[in-house]
C-alpha cells in the first residue's frame, strides 16, 4: 500500500508539471495583458512587463514558474491585489478554506442523502415512493445548480426570509444551507439514481439469495450484503463528482457572493492575472488528484477483488 501511494505521488507531480505547461501556453494564447487599461500607455505597459518579467522569452517565463513552484513560491498577484504574494491570497485570506468547506459539505450531503435515497427507491421499487423519488431525482439532475440557487434565494431568502441572501464569509450554519444545497443537488440526485440501479442489480444477485437461504434478516441483507456491493459504481463516480464540485463551485460562489477560490479563479482569468491563474489551477488540480487517490483507496476497501498494483495479489 505504501509503495503504491508513493508511486501515485510521483505520478501526481509529473501530472502537475504537465498541467503547468498546458496552463501556461493556454493563458498566454489569450490576447490581452494584466496591465492593459483605458488609460495605460505603451510605455507604462512595457515598464510593468519588465518589472514582472513578462518581457522575457516564453520558455524562460515557464522555466521561472517551474523553478519557483519547486521552491514553494507561487509568485505575486499582478493585478487583483497587486504585489501581494499569491500564496497569501489563496491560503491566508480564507479563500481556499471557504471553497473547501463548501465543497466538502456539498460532497457529504450528496453522499449522505443520495445513497440512502437510492437504497429506499430500490427496496420499494415500483411503489409510490420509488415513483416520487424518480420524479424528484430526474428534476434534480435536469435543473442546473445556478437556476436552483436563484429559485432557493427567491423562495427562502426573499419571500420567507429564513436564510440570508448573501453568505459572504459563511459565518454560521444558516449561511451554508442554500449554497450547499445548490451545489449538491445535481450530485445528490445523480448518486441516488446510480445507487438505485446498482442496488437493484445487487438485490437480484445469487449471493443475496444465499443470504436469504441462510436466514439473514432483511435489514442485514440490504445493509450488509447488497449495500457494499452496490457501492462500487458509486465510489467510481465519486472521483468526477469531487472534481465537479470543487471546480464547479464558482457559479454558486458568485450567486451567493461568497469570496471563495472558485470565484477568484474566474476573476483571475478575466483580468489576466497570470500568476493567480497558474496558482489556482495548480492548487485545484492537486486537490482533485488527491481526491482521486482517496477514491482509489476507498475502492480497494469496498471491493477486495480490486488490486491496486499489478504485483499485489
Amino acid at each position: 500500500m505504501a509503495s503504491y501511494i508513493l508511486k501515485r505521488v510521483v505520478g501526481s507531480i509529473l501530472i502537475l508539471l504537465l498541467i503547468m505547461v498546458v496552463t501556461f501556453f493556454l493563458m498566454n494564447a489569450v490576447p490581452g495583458s494584466p496591465f492593459l487599461t483605458e488609460k495605460s500607455t505603451p510605455e507604462q505597459i512595457a515598464l510593468a512587463n519588465a518589472k514582472y518579467g513578462l518581457d522575457k522569452p516564453k520558455y524562460v517565463q515557464l522555466w521561472n514558474y517551474i523553478k519557483n513552484y519547486c521552491k514553494g513560491d507561487l509568485g505575486v498577484s499582478l493585478k487583483m491585489q497587486e504585489g501581494t504574494p499569491v500564496k497569501d491570497i489563496i491560503f491566508h485570506q480564507g479563500k481556499f478554506e471557504l471553497s473547501i468547506k463548501l465543497g466538502i459539505y456539498a460532497l457529504l450531503l450528496a453522499i449522505i442523502v443520495g445513497i440512502p435515497l437510492g437504497c429506499l427507491a430500490a427496496y420499494f421499487r415500483g411503489s409510490w415512493l420509488d415513483g416520487l423519488l424518480r420524479v424528484v431525482t430526474t428534476i434534480g439532475v435536469a435543473i442546473p445548480g445556478f437556476v436552483l440557487a436563484a429559485l432557493l434565494l427567491i423562495v427562502f431568502s426573499v419571500k420567507l426570509n429564513i436564510f440570508p441572501t448573501r453568505s459572504e464569509n459563511l459565518p454560521n450554519f444558516k449561511s451554508y444551507v442554500l449554497p450547499v444545497i445548490s451545489l449538491a443537488s445535481y450530485y445528490t440526485c445523480y448518486i441516488a439514481k446510480l445507487m438505485r440501479t446498482s442496488m437493484l442489480d445487487a438485490i437480484n444477485q445469487d449471493y443475496i439469495r444465499t443470504a436469504r437461504a441462510k436466514g439473514v434478516k432483511t435489514g442485514s441483507i440490504i445493509l450488509k450484503h447488497a449495500l457494499r456491493n452496490s457501492l462500487i459504481p458509486v465510489v467510481t463516480y465519486l472521483g468526477p463528482v469531487t472534481a465537479g464540485i470543487i471546480t464547479g463551485s464558482f457559479v454558486i460562489e458568485s450567486t451567493f457572493s461568497i469570496p471563495g477560490l472558485g470565484k477568484y479563479f474566474v476573476q483571475s482569468v478575466t483580468s489576466r492575472d497570470y500568476p493567480v491563474i497558474m496558482a489556482t489551477t495548480v492548487v485545484l488540480s492537486a486537490l482533485v488528484i488527491v481526491m482521486m487517490l482517496v477514491v482509489d483507496i476507498v475502492y480497494k476497501i469496498v471491493d477486495p477483488r480490486i488490486t491496486l498494483t499489478a504485483k499485489e495479489d
Binding site: A213, K214, G215, H225, P304
Partner: protein, 337 residues
C-alpha cells in the same frame, strides 16, 4: 418423532407465477413425503418446476410466484402458516440450501469466515465470536478444505470453484439442519470436481444424518447419491420410486424416454441416442389431458382429455399414466358401445 418417521410431507402443492401474460402453473399439484435420513432426487428438464417446488419449501419464492394451494409440513408443522420471522429462523437452521453456481453464490466482498459465522450469529444471539469461529473452522475441515484458518480470512475470488462449493456446503450444514436442499449443486463444476462434491455430500449425509432433496437434470448424479427419485414433467410428478425401480424398471413413457436419451458406457453395442420428440408444453396454456400426451408415442384418446391418476406399479413405485389403466379403459369403451 418416534411414531412419525416423516420429516417433510408435501401434499397437492400448487405454485403459480402471475405474469402479465397470464397464470403460469409452475408446480401443479405435487405430493410426496421425505423420511429422516433419506435422499430424494428430483429430476426433470429445465422449466419442469423442480427448483420452484424447492424454493417454496424454504420460502424463497420471488414475486410474482405464489403458493396457491396444498400444504407443506415439516416435522408436523405447517410451513405455509409460518410468519416471515418464523420462516427466517427456520431457514439456514432447520433447512438450508446450496445452489448451482458457487462462483456467484458467495458474496464477493466478505471473507469466507465472515459468511460462515454469519449463519451462526443469525440463529443464535448468545454465541461468542470464538465459538462461532471454531465451529466455522471445524466445518471447513469437515468439508475437506485444507488450511481452514487461512481460508477463513480469504475472499471467495481467492478460492477455486470446487472449493467454493465446499465452502457453500459448510455454510449450509453449519447449523446441522435436518434437511438440505441441493439445487443442481454439481452442474456448474467440471466432472472430476463433480465426483468429489458428490462423494463429499454422500459422506456428510451419513455423518450428519441430514435428509437431502437433490434437484438435478443429471440422471447419473441421481443414481450416485439418491435413495428415491421423483421424475417431474411440466409441473407434475410423473413417476416416483426407488432408484433401482426407476432405473431398471421405468414405467412412465417419459422416464423411459429420458433414460433412453442418455449415453451408457456399459453397453457393448453402440446405438444412436433417442431424443424425445417435440418440445415441452407451454405452461401458460397447459393441455387438458396428460401434460406429456402431445409428445408421447403411446398417446391414447383419453390421454388428451383427462389428467392421468397415479397407479401403484411396484412397492413404493407410482406412475401417472393412462397406460396402466388400459384394461379398465377398454372395458369402459366396450360398455359405452
Amino acid at each position: 418423532m418416534e411414531e412419525n418417521k416423516t420429516l417433510l410431507k408435501i401434499e397437492d402443492l400448487k405454485v403459480s407465477f402471475f405474469t402479465p401474460a397470464g397464470e403460469v402453473k409452475a408446480v401443479d399439484g405435487i405430493s410426496y413425503t421425505l423420511g429422516y435420513n433419506e435422499v430424494m432426487g428430483i429430476v426433470g428438464e429445465s422449466g419442469s418446476g423442480k427448483s420452484v417446488e424447492a424454493y417454496s419449501i424454504i420460502g424463497l419464492l420471488q414475486n410474482p410466484g405464489k403458493v396457491i394451494g396444498g400444504s407443506i409440513e415439516f416435522e408436523g408443522e405447517d410451513l405455509l402458516a409460518f410468519t416471515p420471522e418464523q420462516m427466517r429462523l427456520f431457514r439456514g437452521n432447520k433447512v438450508s440450501m446450496i445452489f448451482q453456481n458457487p462462483m456467484t453464490c458467495l458474496n464477493p466482498v466478505y471473507t469466507i469466515g465472515n459468511q460462515l459465522t454469519e449463519v451462526l450469529n443469525c440463529h443464535d444471539n448468545n454465541i461468542s465470536k470464538k465459538e462461532a469461529y471454531d465451529r466455522a473452522v471445524e466445518m471447513l475441515k469437515l468439508v475437506g478444505i485444507n488450511n481452514p484458518e487461512k481460508r477463513m480470512k480469504q475472499y471467495p475470488h481467492e478460492l477455486s470453484g470446487g472449493m467454493r462449493q465446499r465452502a457453500m456446503i459448510a455454510m449450509a450444514l453449519i447449523c446441522s439442519p435436518k434437511l438440505l436442499i441441493a439445487d443442481e449443486p454439481t452442474t456448474a463444476l467440471d466432472v472430476t470436481i463433480q465426483a468429489q462434491i458428490l462423494e463429499l455430500m454422500k459422506d456428510l449425509q451419513k455423518k450428519e444424518n441430514t435428509s437431502i432433496i437433490f434437484i438435478t437434470h443429471n440422471l447419473g448424479v441421481v443414481a450416485e447419491i439418491c435413495d428415491r427419485v421423483s421424475v417431474m414433467y411440466a409441473g407434475r410428478i410423473v413417476e416416483q420410486g426407488t432408484v433401482n425401480e426407476i432405473f431398471y424398471n421405468p414405467q412412465h413413457p417419459y422416464t423411459k424416454k429420458l433414460l433412453a436419451s442418455i449415453p451408457r458406457l456399459d453397453e457393448e453395442t453402440v446405438e444412436r441416442l433417442v431424443p424425445i420428440e417435440g418440445t415441452p408444453i407451454d405452461l401458460l396454456n397447459p393441455p387438458q389431458g396428460c401434460n406429456f400426451g402431445p409428445r408421447c408415442s403411446d398417446c391414447m384418446k383419453i390421454c388428451l382429455r383427462k389428467k392421468p391418476p397415479f397407479a401403484e406399479v411396484g412397492e413404493g413405485h407410482i406412475s401417472a399414466c393412462w397406460l396402466h389403466f388400459k384394461d379398465m379403459i377398454e372395458k369402459e369403451a366396450e360398455k359405452d358401445e
